[in-house]
């Protein structure tokens, strides 16, 4: 398709503004997704892409929550099943099972890892002040993975700490 055609298409779509969605926002945007019935969120700037589930190649002697690696356009990307890592729900794979590929960049390096979740749900606009600290009780998720909680309507979304998620634990061959 010609780029010019696209250019004429865009405004005609944009004229019908969707009510209730703030296009111009302040604060940060977060992608929310589901694990079992619980809602979680990650910083949307870290999201590389959202893929459908495909069977990865196993890494020998890796922990169970690491499903293996996939080929993402020539890059070898490990796949972590968040449900297994957090022990939430059951790790079943359907048509709706998706993989959120996150890239976390530090000064020297960047690391790309895919995370298996049940479904992707929404994009949230959240001010920094809206992020609440998580109670110290905690569930099955280790506290360092959690950056805070966000109240969305009646629901509470757990905001995950991408940097911690991206840490790969050294796995011993025999644990």
């Amino acid at each position: 398709m010609d780029i010019q055609d696209l250019a004429t298409d865009i405004p005609s779509q944009g004229e019908h503004t969707v009510e209730g969605i703030d296009f111009i926002t302040s604060g940060e945007q977060y992608l929310t997704f589901l694990l079992a019935q619980e809602q979680y969120a990650v910083d949307i700037l870290c999201v590389e892409e959202i893929r459908s589930w495909e069977q990865p190649t196993k890494i020998p002697n890796s922990p169970g929550y690491i499903k293996g690696v996939i080929n993402m356009r020539g890059v070898i990307v490990p796949i972590v099943d968040l449900r297994l890592k957090f022990s939430i729900g059951e790790a079943s794979y359907h048509d709706t099972t998706v993989v959120i590929v996150l890239t976390y960049q530090t000064d020297e390096s960047s690391r790309t890892i895919g995370f298996v979740v049940d479904a992707v749900s929404d994009v949230l606009n959240v001010e920094a002040t809206e992020i609440l600290s998580s109670p110290a009780f905690g569930g099955s998720i280790q506290p360092h993975f959690i950056e805070g909680l966000i109240n969305v309507g009646k629901n509470v979304v757990t905001l995950l700490h991408v940097e911690s998620l991206q840490q790969v634990e050294k796995h011993a061959t025999n644990s």
């Binding site: 990865p56 190649t57 196993k58 890494i59 020998p60 002697n61 890796s62 922990p63 169970g64 929550y65 293996g68 690696v69 996939i70 080929n71 020539g74 890059v75 070898i76 990307v77 490990p78 297994l84 022990s87 020297e108 690391r111 790309t112 890892i113 790969v168 634990e169 050294k170 796995h171 061959t173 025999n174 644990s175």
Partner: protein
């Protein structure tokens, strides 16, 4: 106008190192009366001095100035080329290298060495002053030079002369130093005031210089600007008028050409990223290494234009094929299947060629690694007092840049050993009926997908019995063991092994051969020794051409496909049950001719589930690493193919037993097995089995859930 000069520093450094290498190579070949060579050495030193001055590397400038002065005297014939001076100059090259590296890293350098060398240079220079008188009388040229001459110089600079930082005033100042200077500015090109661009230079000059300097010296002042101006220097009084620009244009390039042809044909032009760190003292070298690493390893490669052109052509062909295929695809009918097939074939061809060309970009002639050896052998010959020469063959053999960088040090070590332990003293050689001059030869050639580098000498050879008894003494082997010659020679690579009776400062500390072997193995290579007593030894280093692509054997275990590097495979066979022995607590050994090879079932090692768990009739791929053979038990053997190695570490971590991953033709990922890692892993397993024999069944396949603590 201020220009950020720092952006030019990297290219200055690169050029300087190239210049140093050129100086070094030329000095080694320098013979008395060889003016061309002296000229090229002088020019190299001069450019380094000039560049260093521009960037404010004062230590480099000052030191190089001394070197330059000495060279200048040689150039003018005021001084004979004396081997002693050449030695000093060679040392000076080292010092310049140290200084430039220090300037680059803003670090300290070995001040003693530089000071010592400075003294030597000054001493030599002082010597000449006394000798100069005689030289002057002998040399008719110089006698002529000493009389006053008048030079008429017409200097018409280009308008942008000032942009690179040149200032005519400096030139005139320098000329005025030579003698009496009269300047006359010609303003006829000066535009109207409104048209003047403040950065441009519109003036030209007519200069008259009365001086006793030679034409060369006058010319030299304009050396930096000669490309950016029209320059005519005429010399009167001596009655022979020299049309300067002609000499400049004809003389300079031809010199350069011949020099390139005689010294080292392609490598200067092609790509010279000089790996010049090796002559430094050990400590300094390490420092620099860590520093360059810290800067983020962004090496650059200079690529020949022909290679790039070739690549562009291939991409052109690829585009044509693509458009043909997409046209075919837009309106496809079954009767066009032949055209589709031929199109796909063409695509395959294009891709293959493109792959080869891209890989070739990373390939450099091995002369980069070999270049340093003439100097090294020269120094070693001086140090040991043994007469020896170096013969280099196959320096055009191409090798991957990464491999090249890492093979340098091991090669240096092997050459040192050859010079120190291999070559005997001249009297011993003569007594044994050998030519007085020892020969070390370096040879590189391709063999299959590998490159072989041979370091051989015609020296004493390795004393088998001495090695054997030494190994017994060090407790490496049992005194009663019987070993074949290759096995004995392999002992040389054991840590802490040295047979030299006395430790010299060149080699013999026994820290090294094991490191050499480890380095070569880290590159996926092998090293072998052949030696005949009294006739010499030969070290054969076998390296993969590139680290990015690997020849692999695809095997299937359970549902997974793995790749075994072809270089580590000894053979593949089907297990004959009669040859399997179970020994020492359920370890399966396979009798391969007269060797017992432990069988490692890959499915067990990697915790996979498969139907092929019986050793009987199983497929065994016998692989070798670190001299240890093991048989990997796999389900099926698939194809052999070249695979591109991708790192697992980039997004994940190093996995024991896996050296990397690759992407197969169908887009899926396959793991590349790391044979030494797997052997270690198996050893670990066996140990654990011994310690926690009741626990070992808790090992689970990877799809089982394992929580980490």
């Amino acid at each position: 106008m201020s220009v950020d000069l720092s952006q030019f520093i990297p290219s200055f450094l690169e050029e300087s190192f190239e210049g140093l290498e050129l100086m070094e190579a030329s000095l080694l070949n320098l013979e008395a009366g060889d003016h061309e060579t002296i000229h090229s050495i002088f020019r190299a030193a001069h450019s380094i001095k000039g560049g260093a001055g521009t960037f404010g590397f004062d230590s480099v400038t000052e030191f190089t100035h001394l070197v330059e002065t000495l060279l200048d005297e040689m150039r003018d014939g005021r001084r004979e080329v004396d081997p002693k001076d050449v030695e000093i100059l060679l040392n000076s090259v080292d010092c310049m290298r140290i200084l430039i590296e220090a300037a680059r890293d803003k670090a300290d350098y070995d001040k003693d060495k530089v000071t010592e060398n400075t003294h030597q240079l000054e001493e030599t220079l002082a010597n000449v002053l006394s000798g100069e008188v005689t030289a002057d009388i002998q040399d008719p040229d110089d006698a002529q030079n000493s009389s006053k001459k008048t030079y008429h110089i017409i200097f018409i600079p280009n308008h942008d002369l000032a942009k690179p930082g040149n200032d005519p005033l400096f030139l005139f100042g320098a000329l005025a130093d030579l003698g009496e200077l009269t300047t006359e500015a010609l303003t006829k090109e000066l535009p109207a005031l409104s048209d003047i661009c403040p950065q441009e230079l519109y003036l030209s000059w007519h200069l008259t210089l009365i001086s006793d300097s030679s034409l060369e010296e006058v010319k030299e002042i304009f050396e930096w600007v000669e490309d950016e101006c029209e320059l005519t220097i005429t010399q009167s009084e001596a009655s022979n008028i020299v049309a300067e620009p002609e000499i400049e244009t004809t003389a300079a390039p031809s010199e350069e050409n011949t020099e390139i042809v005689t010294e080292k044909p392609v490598e200067i032009e092609e790509a010279n990223t000089p790996p010049v760190k090796e002559q430094l003292p050990e400590v300094a070298k390490e420092q620099i290494k860590s520093k360059t690493k810290g800067k983020g390893d962004v090496g650059s490669i200079r690529v020949g234009v022909d290679k790039v052109d070739n690549l562009i052509n291939l991409v052109g062909e690829l585009v044509i094929t693509q458009s043909m295929l997409s046209e075919l695809g837009s309106d496809f009918q079954m009767d066009k299947i032949d055209r589709l097939n031929s199109g796909l074939e063409q695509l395959l061809q294009n891709t293959k060629e493109l792959q080869e060309s891209v890989m070739r970009i990373r390939m450099l002639p091995i002369s980069f690694a070999f270049n340093r050896f003439p100097r090294l052998v020269h120094d070693l010959a001086n140090k040991t007092g043994k007469a020896m020469e170096l013969i280099i063959k196959g320096e055009q053999t191409e090798l991957d840049k990464t491999v090249m960088e890492q093979i340098g040090d091991p090669l240096v070590h092997l050459v040192r050993n050859a010079a120190d332990h291999g070559i005997e003293n001249a009297d011993v050689r003569v007594a044994n009926g050998k030519p007085e001059m020892g020969t070390i030869s370096l040879d590189a050639y391709h063999q299959g997908g590998n490159i072989v580098i041979e370091i051989s000498d015609d020296g004493a050879g390795i004393n088998r019995d001495k090695v054997f008894s030494k190994a017994v003494e060090k407790g490496i082997i049992d005194p009663n063991s019987t070993l074949t010659d290759p096995q004995v020679f392999d002992l040389l690579f054991e840590p802490g092994f040295s047979t030299a009776d006395e430790v010299t400062d060149i080699s013999g500390r026994g820290v090294g051969m094991d490191v050499v072997k480890r380095n070569i193995q880290a590159l996926g290579g092998r090293i072998q020794v052949e030696s005949t007593m009294g006739e010499g030894s030969c070290f054969k280093v076998n390296l993969p051409l590139t680290l990015a692509i690997l020849d692999g054997q695809l095997v299937k275990v359970g549902s997974e496909t793995y790749i075994i590097p072809l270089i580590s495979i000894v053979e593949s066979l089907q297990v004959d049950d009669g040859l399997v022995n179970r020994v020492s607590g359920d370890m399966a050994l396979y009798r391969l001719r007269d060797e017992n090879v432990p069988i490692l079932p890959v499915y067990q090692l990697f915790g996979l589930s498969t139907e092929h768990t019986k050793i009987n009739n199983a497929l065994l791929v016998v692989v070798e690493a670190d001299g240890q053979k093991v048989g990997l038990m796999v389900d099926h053997l698939l194809a052999q193919q070249q695979v591109v190695i991708k790192s697992l570490k980039e997004n994940y971590q190093q996995v024991i037993g896996i050296s990397g991953a690759t992407i197969l033709g169908d887009g899926s990922v396959a793991m590349i097995l790391d044979i030494p890692g797997m052997i270690q892993m198996a050893m670990g397993h066996a140990q654990q089995k011994r310690h926690l024999s009741h626990h070992h069944d808790t090992e689970q396949p990877t799809n089982g859930i394992k929580e980490l603590h």
